[in-house]
Subunit: 488 residues, 2 copies
């Protein structure tokens, strides 16, 4: 506004044109002023944008210090590998090929150990196989005579590049050897093509594999020794975190419906955010798959063996998503406008809350099983409790209202609505019935989740808590710890 006012105060010169229009002659000062203001606006906007960017980056760094450490590790690896160039004796050994070590570090160094190892092995194998093949073909070609060389080379590059590119579309190759296939094409083309010029082909190939091995070894060492980020552990954390979120969401959604949010001490916004935790479960499929893919390349670390059943985590994730779909539907249905009569709602609230809390207890116990990596001694008991609560809920529903079929409305839809005193339309309790039905469905799906986690416990050879106790003292026959004996 201030800018406009300023402009209007400036005297304006106008030229009247032949066609009746007029053109303003902006005074020099005005133009300069306008340009200055525009420039100032532009610069301010740019500065603001840059500031915003850095603020975001700063927040990211504060929230996830792991990422900052990874960046420093990359910088370190690159600086170390640069030494090959600066140290003359090493340089003379490697020749110009030291460039390949730098390139390897840049391309191969990934966020997680698994990804780095996967790319490293892919790079080494791809280079080695393609190099050998290319040199072999080069040798055969050199026997047959110089004049055919370009043709044979061209055809072999065309055929192999097409075939290997195609193999990258095959899921089993794509999952594990995608990068290796690309490196294969790259190396084969380079060697085949430069074989025409470079005489010391074998030496060059040798040097190149050598530098690549140095680069990858450096990457793997740095990524594994300095504050390692394991893909397996990330996957494991993601799954257990999502399990907690799922349990909280389930509890929260049902609680909220019955107006017993239970977390009055916390901020409402925080609570609402937590209720939507199940959405994280819905969106983490891609991350889970990537992590599981990299985790299988990792050596034994922490509590995980080399052949830890990472694939099973994907099954667990899928089971969790199946639950989350139902919670999403539940969230939509219970928020509809139909108001359930207070009396019925109150009558059902206890048992519905019991089902949801028993269900989320099962999920929490599963999360605990995963966190401690010990077979739970109470999971069967808790699943039983959950199923009992479901049965109780069904019984309650059975005993609550008997429904009299009024034969008249079955004939046609134009029958006038008859309201008896004390009668409740089915319509009115629909959200409640839906909630109950979805709760039962969720309980069924949780059993699938329980199975998935139990399979993991079998595969991963988790010890049971009872086994550990056995070594110290005899346990009671029921296997139910004391805290559960008195009931909830």
């Amino acid at each position: 506004m201030a800018q406009e006012k300023e402009m209007s105060r400036v005297t304006e010169w106008r030229i009247r044109m032949a066609d009746g229009s007029s053109e303003a002659l902006a005074p020099e000062a005005g133009l300069a002023c306008r340009a200055w203001l525009a420039l100032k606006g532009l610069i301010m906007g740019l500065v603001l944008k840059v500031c915003n960017f850095f603020r975001k980056a700063w927040d990211l760094g504060q929230n996830e210090p792991k990422k900052v450490i990874h960046c420093l590790k990359v910088g370190m690896a690159l600086t170390v590998v640069s030494l090959f160039y600066y140290m003359r004796p090493l340089y003379e050994g490697m020749g110009g090929n030291a460039m390949w070590a730098v390139m390897t570090v840049v391309v191969v160094f990934e966020n997680t150990v698994g990804a780095t190892i996967c790319k490293s092995l892919n790079r080494i194998c791809g280079t080695f196989v393609a190099g050998s093949l290319a040199i072999g073909i080069h040798w055969i070609v050199s026997q047959s005579g110089k004049e055919f060389e370009p043709f044979i080379n061209g055809i072999s590059v065309f055929l192999l590049a097409s075939a290997v590119t195609f193999s990258r579309f095959i899921p089993s190759v794509k999952k594990r050897f995608d990068y290796g296939a690309m490196i294969f094409i790259l190396t084969f083309s380079l060697v085949a093509v430069s074989g025409y010029r470079v005489d010391k082909l074998l030496e060059m190939a040798n040097n190149r594999v050598y530098t690549i091995i140095i680069g990858t070894a450096l990457c793997i060492m740095i990524t594994m020794i300095i504050y390692p980020i394991w893909a397996g552990e990330e996957l494991y954390m993601l799954i257990t975190r999502n399990m907690d979120k799922l349990a909280y969401s389930l509890d929260g959604c049902v609680g909220e419906y019955f107006n017993e949010s239970g977390s009055s001490s916390e901020g409402d916004k925080e609570s609402a955010k937590k209720l939507l935790g199940y959405k994280c479960v819905l969106t983490s499929k891609a991350t889970e798959e990537a992590m599981a893919n990299f985790a299988r390349w990792e050596p034994a670390h922490g509590r995980f063996n080399f052949r830890h059943p990472w694939k099973q985590y994907l099954k667990i994730g899928a089971s969790m998503r199946a639950c989350a779909y139902c919670i999403d539907a539940l969230d939509g249905c219970v928020n509809s406008e139909n108001e359930v009569p207070e009396l019925i709602k109150k009558h059902m609230s206890n048992i519905a809350l019991k089902v949801s809390s028993e269900s989320s207890r099962v999920i929490k116990e599963l999360a605990k099983t995963m966190k401690t990596m010990k077979k739970s001694s109470t999971i069967d008991y808790l699943v039983g409790e959950m199923n009992n609560a479901v049965l109780e809920l069904q019984e309650d529903l059975k005993s609550l209202p008997t429904l009299f079929i009024n034969p008249q409305p079955l004939q046609g839809a134009d029958c006038p609505e008859k309201k008896n005193t004390g009668a409740v339309a089915l319509m009115d309790i629909m959200p409640l019935v839906t909630l109950v039905s979805l709760l039962i469905e969720i309980a069924t799906r949780i059993e699938g989740l329980v199975n998935a986690v139990e399979e993991l416990a079998e595969m991963g050879e988790y010890k049971s808590v009872a086994d550990e106790k056995n070594q110290n003292q005899p346990v009671s026959k029921t296997n139910v710890p004391d805290e559960h004996k008195e009931g909830v």
Copy 2:
């Protein structure tokens, strides 16, 4: 079996050991035979595996010829770029840097045009910016004296590599410039490091940028001219295909529940597979995002402008997923064991089927809108019909059974179940009520989908069918085409 028999007929020599156990001395022939059989088994297994692999690859190629064509394009691009090496005049111009053209082609050539352009521009910009910066720093360093060079270079590599690696974690950078950032680090390190040795730095950098531009230009040309695969078009096809699947699944699931599958002529397996079409919607999030990301780099093609609102497709995809969650929950709930009394089921079947068919008609109309890229003149009418059907369903539910609250069970759960003649327990009709409730929820979510598609129509400046008709003949006021006037 035959193998075992054969083995048992051979005479066996045994040595009795000191500890009482005996060790068989297998005759030479037996050993050779066994080894031969083992080898045969191994080879057969390997052959079988390889055959399997090729069969899979063949199926993939037959199902998606686009991928085969892409592979041939890659082979062609590589063969063409190899010419730089073989043609002596070109080679002399480029020097050994022609290698960079080969490398560029291998790394940059992607399946879709968008991805190729994205990587190409990233590569060019990353190389150019990093090269300029590195040369600038090199010049400053060279002024300050040789002895500090390694230190300054090392520090600058460390700092820049760390910072740029960090920037790759920032979502907005990661989405668009991830590859460019990597190339920046690569180029900067290479130039900074080799600047210490190579004297003709500027010329080398110049040549490198030059060859990279040649490589990328070749890739972009080949990918755009020969049977182009546009990321935008792939995204568009994916979304419309998923919409059809969603409509079919919704129709099918509800139809199946009421035992009116409607597709008796088709194979049951085929039909069941189609019913699960909504699962494709659930799993296509990652693909949608990747495609939308690449589509924005593509120039105008086919019916899409340069600034086609690709982001809106993600919103449409999200809306579809919201519907699919409900269908998944519905699929679970209606398959529960509770049998709804035939009488009630039959009574509700007509109207429930109507709601589902009206809903799926809306989805199909949206799919048609997207396919024809013309604003639908009937969508408002269809949404109205859907909402009417929902209202009718609710009315039916209201009028059907009046529910008498039995005050007794409200006191305690131990009350014995009382069954009046002709009474139906709420429990028994629960699946039906849930189905109805979820259908209503799905209808609500479909409205969200309608809004998303309408926004797209606005943004993409779709013409309306009415506009086109206006140019030929006056339309009726209601805007409802004849086929809809008589009702369904």
